[in-house]
Symmetry: C3
Subunit: 347 residues, 3 copies
């Protein structure tokens, strides 16, 4: 495969940066300050990395005006070097290959409407009344159920399964192993203790520019739709229950589990392994940030950072502390009793 | 697709409820009290929702005898309105479409026995000596290994993978992304620190009316089978290790992880993100309920509700508390010392 | 299928054990001491199981020299009976069937190089410039992207998805539901709060004799590769972020989540449900063992066992303790105050 290459001038124009140095220098890739080679562009986004400046072999750097004096080489001057680096990186992206057109082994329901400009790989299955827009890429063995809408330039990686009644907005990406629209988890016991399913009749509505990581599952709503708003970024192995509503531009890191009917605001960040679920549906307001492995059991109505994980310890120490934790309430009462009995002046 | 529609009389007969009102009213869907539209049926299952009665536009309500005076409209009277609502919801279920017969691209081993009344979608693969019963629905790209038994009216959603030696009982449903029967995780170190696999020779035995959510994995047994009894309901992204035994009608919510050789009783409920595993195999007796994110490290022999998660806090407060937790044992000893030194009468 | 059978002499030679008893006894399977039947071999690896010796019906036992006097039957004498049992078990392994050759429905890019001795099942897709070595087994619907290397005797179970730029070493096994090489999770906010993706340009490099359990996901590196060294054993539903580096012969149990850029040493053991991730990239030195459900938020530079989970309690007790935990720092200050005020001699 021929690798992409750009002149520094092309990169400067693409990210609208001021170019200091050689317009015609050729950039063929990206690197970190410490490991970049000649022909690569790197970035100085944090003062902590200035120490690597002397040693870098990068052909050009993206940096702030203020750092320009520190660097004698080619430079792209940006107010937000890391964002500029992200924009440059996208030029070097190499999406998985997929031939134009609809592979002869694709099974398209006669009542489906698939744009001729969509690409369908081998073994793709498209259900009745589903619409696939131009520029969509459905890789090998993707299955899309009936009554779905797949927007323009949506990418569904190999093996993705979309159940009926799912809408995915333009430019969204869904990675392999993802299942969208499976039945929400709803049962109620009958008199004899058996569990009767509540039929899950809703769908899933996913906005534009959403990214969904490998192995993530998003259930359909019970009656109404589960909703993922525009720009939400979801990492791998995230579970989102039925009737959740995730606000725009929220970030959900790997292995997060979100119980049904949770509402999460806009611009939230849920770090890895968080869990959300309690006795009643939980609501997180806009701008809530959860540290890794935090379990949220009731709603949060103020933006801010919340945490809840236990810090690891050597096993023996942990064992003593963990056993004591089971008697913490008793300890409180012992301390309260002591305070009553000690008459001295407060410290 | 033509949507289903029923007269209220038909619904009343189906759920064996007393009908008060218009026998011929037509019901085309379901709604919650607050959002239901004309033509829909809703339910009043909890007194907390009585406040929504005045505003509902539902054509009919399922409710208790005692609530009948509060509602002037059409009613289906039931001792357990939520269960009745579940039974009604099933009438409106719209399972993913799958054509009758065996798709020409299905690969059926000559030594397999597939009932002509089973439906096999495109790309389905069935291994040697496997039996597929009447009414089973194997959606696109399902792979069933050799020596399996797939019961009557079992549904395997697109892409499900069933390894060899798996039995699935009648009417069970397995959602996409599920893998049943993969090798249990068993290794033992050799003298040089390399890990030798213990071959996993058992299978998986799954009962009737079991539901398995998207992305869940259930490993085969090492020698004997892993067992899931009748009526067990498993949510998404649950991991069940080799040789586990899950008792009938137990509910396992999303993201639960269960270590190998765990025995879980009947009618247990494991809320989301629980983990079960310790130094020795763990046993939960019948009727154990675990709150969300509880880790169980030793057996529980009494029914009841058990919990263990940390409650979230603002980050700064959490940090102080979490650091203190690492010295909790020391605090206990300090308090004990204080108690010895304080001679006053106990509070 | 004809089951395998071996004489005791054949087993003794295979595991290089001394045989005491009948060379020609036929072994057709394995069992535990308590459940083995005639025709099966079992093992006595731990003194705790000596009590089952009297009742076992096994045709032969693998045991230590020291235990030989306790057992009158056929014996294979080994210094490490469990390791010997593992080696015997492998003889009875029944890998999922896959026909020789390349199935006619396999889609092999003309620029791929697939050894004729590799087996490709129905619906397999192989991308451009990818090399598949002899003895590799790609089961039904496996998709391998472009620029990959699949080593000799690698097994990819049904439906596995390998993205571009992934290398898998000889004899490694990848179970169904696994996705290797999906985009790492990297975004940076633009001025308006939208999230711009950082293109993920690296690959994944997996060593020899690696095992990867069902539903596990391993992301590609941002610039360099994510690396899994030789002999690493990964259980089901593990998430490994971009640019992680996992040292040789490390064991990662089910449901572990590892944030991007984590470095884990050699011969570590991460029990189920552990989480690794913090403000900065985390490094675990060689020989670190984590107990189940431990969250690691900063690096560990000494080998040893580390823990961090909360122990479950009856719900009411947990509730009191968990609420107290939120005021633990305050309790410390109260105790410190008491200590100042109590003048008596230290206990």
């Amino acid at each position: 495969m021929s690798e992409p290459a750009y002149t520094l001038r092309e990169l400067a124009d693409h990210i609208q940066a001021r170019l200091v140095g050689d317009d015609s220098a050729v950039i063929m890739g990206l690197g970190s300050l410490a490991t970049a080679e000649a022909g690569e562009v790197s970035h100085l986004s944090s003062p902590a990395y200035r120490k690597h400046l002397a040693g870098t072999r990068a052909t050009a750097l993206i940096l702030r005006e203020a750092d320009l004096p520190l660097w004698p080489g080619n430079a792209l001057v940006s107010e937000n070097p890391y964002l500029s680096f992200a924009l440059v990186s996208q030029l070097f992206s190499r999406p998985q290959q997929l031939e134009e057109g609809h592979h002869p082994t694709a099974e398209i329901d006669p009542a489906a409407v698939v744009d001729p400009g969509a690409r369908l790989g081998p073994g793709v299955v498209v259900g009745a009344r589903t619409r696939i827009s131009a520029g969509a890429r459905l890789h090998a063995h993707v299955v899309v159920g009936e009554d779905c809408r797949i927007g323009e330039e949506v990418t569904l990686m190999p093996g993705v399964v979309i159940y009926p009644r799912v809408t995915i907005g333009a430019r969204s990406t869904v990675h392999s192993g993802v299942v969208i629209g499976a039945d929400g988890f709803g049962f109620t016991p009958s008199a004899d203790g058996r569990l009767e399913p509540i039929a899950q009749l809703g769908g899933v509505s996913i906005g534009e520019d959403v990214s969904i990581g490998a192995g993530t599952t998003i259930d359909c709503g019970a009656i109404d739709d589960t909703v993922i708003e525009d720009g939400v970024k979801i990492d791998n192995q995230v579970q989102i229950g039925h009737n959740c509503h995730i606000g725009a531009h929220t970030v959900i890191c790997g292995c997060v589990g979100i119980a049904g009917s949770t509402r999460i605001g806009r611009h939230c960040v849920l770090a890895g392994k968080c869990g959300i679920g309690g006795d009643r549906p939980i609501e997180l307001t806009d701008g809530v940030v959860l540290s890794g492995a935090t379990n949220v059991m009731f709603s949060i109505d103020r933006p801010g950072v919340y945490s809840g994980a236990v810090i690891h310890e050597p096993h023996g120490l942990w064992k003593r502390n963990a056993m004591r934790l089971r008697r913490l309430d008793e300890l409180y009462r012992r301390v309260a009793d002591l305070q009553k009995r000690v008459k001295g002046p407060k410290g």
